[in-house]
Point group: C2
Chain length 514, copies 2
């Protein structure tokens, strides 16, 4: 009954047209031209950094196009319409390649890393099992090997995988720690596990996560997701520079041991989100070893400092961690998402998950399971998420990554100096990297209450970003609103920082007037 298909001949023609290689080539050429022109304009700061549009209006526009209302006239062939859609997407996005983008811990990425990613997208090379993505798997393994050795681990002694972001990487690492700490929790569930509180008749003996007081919110989230409870986190106090205090950690672990509470893991930061403070990992690790608890280091942002001769000292001791998270889509300047979770002990690489999927894992070739990426990460099918990093590293060499760390960290220090020198700006910490938290306090606010000063920062920022002139982010410091800049476009210059301060003054005056 191939008649089934005969009835579908028009459908098959439409499909063949959509899969036509010459259409791909023509569309690809248009895309290249549009992307390059857009990059050049962004680098020259010709448009707004952020083309602000109120969200409901943006959604209406996206729906209208989806329903056939093409931007700027719909005539022309498919490739031409494709080009119009691309231009619309470029016009409406945040321009991270504009050097006035000084915002989140999301970089202006290496443009060619995005093209390497496109190889994976167009061909749909995926991971899960080796045979689905032999090259994607090889590339993932090569990058895991490289990053693990940068951490200081011996070849072949460690394990790791790439996943879709730092939050998932933290979740995966902490799931592994939970499974190791709590025996059969994976199979039985937390309520029925060997270590469950009620089995000892002591409700206070709940398992606990111990974390840097300012650990990224994904750590509390992980506790919520994993069934530990977002409130079952003991937050360890910080020193005056925002680093976890090893002595307080020691005291907390001793107290928890005394109370009989199982410790799933200690979470240290390299660096912590608020001000980019690097924990003293060697000291932290020594405490963890003494108490025999799992040390998880969230080096999502700071891991890249390992590539820099100037800055790798910030991570001294990271080789003692049991698990490490390192986002390549932060300071290795590749597009989102490309995050690594790494385990010091190779055998731990399989401890996050236990499963059986007969249609996936082939009993006819058991030796291949070692290469099946899907057994290590939350994802089953997984993008070739390391293509961009592997490609850019292969093409430009590792020096470029050290360069980008050195330049952006230097910009952080330079910005700090500018803030120190200015009467109407207050830097809130000495930056260890490229994160700088500060306030603009014009004369009129010098004696204002903290709440007023904090609110002013947040309102000022919103005015600034909606103007399209610069992009920075809001934060809090000691509970009071502040401004936060991450120097994460390596083409930003000190002159841009001067202009940022001028723009803040200008919008501050406007805000005080209104």
């Amino acid at each position: 009954m191939s008649a089934d298909l005969d009835d579908l001949s028009a459908a098959r023609q439409r499909i063949a047209a959509a899969y036509d290689p010459s259409l791909l080539e023509e569309a690809g050429h248009r895309l290249s031209g549009l992307l390059a022109a857009h990059l050049a304009e962004a680098q020259r700061s010709e448009g707004p950094v952020l083309p602000w549009v109120d969200p409901p209006e943006a959604v209406r526009d996206a729906v209208a196009v989806l329903h056939g209302s093409m931007p700027a006239g719909a005539s022309g062939g498919t490739a031409e319409t494709f080009g119009r859609l691309v231009q619309l997407m470029l016009d409406r996005g945040l321009n991270l390649h504009d050097p006035r983008y000084i915002g989140h811990q999301v970089p202006a990425p290496l443009p060619l890393a995005g093209l390497f990613d496109a190889v994976g997208s167009v061909t749909n090379q995926c991971m899960a099992i080796y045979e689905m993505g032999p090259w994607a798997t090889a590339v993932e393994r090569a990058m895991v090997a490289e990053l693990g050795q940068l951490i200081g681990w011996a070849p072949d002694s460690f394990a790791g995988a790439v996943t879709h972001g730092g939050s998932l990487a933290n979740l995966t690492g902490l799931l592994t720690a939970r499974n190791v700490a709590l025996g059969d929790a994976w199979e039985q569930g937390l309520e029925a596990s060997d270590t469950a509180a009620h089995s000892m008749g002591a409700p206070a003996r709940l398992p606990v996560l111990v974390a840097h007081a300012d650990a990224h919110y994904s750590v509390a989230r992980a506790a919520g997701i994993l069934g530990l409870g977002s409130r079952q986190i003991v937050r360890v106090g910080l020193d005056e520079r925002g680093r976890m205090d090893p002595q307080q950690l020691d005291a907390e672990l001793a107290r928890l041991h005394f109370e009989g509470r199982p410790v799933v893991a200690v979470v240290a930061c390299a660096c912590a989100t608020p001000t980019g403070a690097f924990d003293r990992l060697a000291d932290i690790a020594a405490v963890c070893r003494r108490h025999e608890v799992w040390l998880h280091v969230d080096a999502a942002h700071g891991g890249a400092a390992l590539l820099s001769e100037l800055h790798r000292h910030l991570l001294a001791g990271i080789e003692l961690a049991d698990s490490v998270v390192w986002d390549a889509h932060k300071m290795l300047f590749v597009p989102a998402l490309c995050a690594f979770v790494l385990y010091r002990d190779r055998a731990r690489g399989f401890d996050a998950f236990h499963q059986d999927a007969p249609y996936l894992f082939d009993p006819a070739a058991p030796g291949l399971a070692e290469y099946d990426s899907g057994v290590r990460t939350m994802e089953c099918t997984k993008r070739a998420a390391a293509f961009g990093l592997w490609g850019a590293w292969s093409l430009f060499g590792r020096q470029l990554f050290a360069d980008m760390v050195d330049v952006t960290f230097a910009l952080g220090r330079i910005f700090h100096e500018r803030l120190v020198e200015a009467d109407d700006f207050v830097p809130l910490h000495e930056p260890e990297c490229n994160i700088v938290v500060f306030r603009h306090i014009p004369g009129a606010l010098r004696d204002a209450a903290p709440e007023r000063v904090g609110t002013f920062q947040l309102e000022l920022r919103r005015r600034l970003i909606e103007s399209g002139e610069f992009y920075i982010v809001p934060s809090k410091y000691h509970g009071v609103g502040a401004l936060r800049a991450t120097l994460i476009n390596p083409l930003t210059t000190p002159e841009h920082l001067d202009r940022l301060m001028e723009a803040l003054r200008h919008h501050g005056r406007g805000l005080l007037r209104d």
Copy 2:
């Protein structure tokens, strides 16, 4: 101390060269030509479907290139070297665009969907908060609106988000169900939650997930991750066609109610992985409503049938689900990963997570939180994962997606008929979609023991895929090895299916000889 930067002038030059827009343009043009040539070759089946290389060798090659050993001579400029790297990536990947790829539930994607994704990659348009990715957010919302209405929900009455794969989408939906069912489990943890077993003094009252007996392995995984326990799943028996039996479901729910065990959710499948069976959702939903339990429908594969006039009846009743998972990177033919988790009740869209990240969510603009994608998914920073789908849908119109469902489902039926007609093939079920499970049983094995027949299938498949001639996957049916094909390249034809059967016969003879 801008001297910092003066010392880094060589670094800044290297960076500027890597970010040069003209390099992006030249590399993009090379990429377009290479991708188009590769697509044409794959469509003409000129190379192997799978260029098999043993994993350790592949990893060695990826490491060597990373360390500077360029493929095929390293001369030429950066764009030329870029082209060589791209060619290597293309040469070493599985060719899903070859019509002899009839494998996993991972499609030969629309090539232009990959290019739309590249817009997101090169510019790094991300989500988390609206202002980071205004267009990415708008596009996500537009697609959520479209898919929810296809399900049958009234505009603005539902919620949803895109995430990195069906496993994460299932995890997210079931986390929401857990939080709804178990009160304060998110904050307190499962052991201390209101409903915790020990608080009632009855260890048997553990919370439970009730699932289709053949639910995807990510469901059991979710139970492990969420602290429920992978063994705390009650698997509901199936009817003769592999569909969850509503009467057995009713009986299980009654039993669990009697035992006082909280039911987190019922997981139904549309369709189930093993043979592509669609649960009778209307009947299942009626049972769930009677018992007042959350219905989660894993429509990762089958959701797309909603677009087809011919096949949408398979999903009748899906509008009664509380949560639905729908992978666009399966039967909507976009590259991985683009999965949707959708909630019938709009208010549930925020129930998966509870967090506070002051540097992210801006108190100066509280109305925007509704548009902050990061509060709905496991990811914090998230790729513009819906760009490919939105772009392809806008460009080609929704009819093309219906076409691809109709053609590939027809191919599934045609293949089944071919198997029925052949003496030496045994189809193991009547296909409801484009998934076909079968065995090749040559005369010599007609009277062999089931184990022998099963092992033969798995060894036969390995031989076939390593030959590069076809790509299909292994499975089990009633515990015995089988072959599994997913017709998920819409350019596959009935002639390819004839040749697949011939290739299996050929390799089967070789296997019996050796």
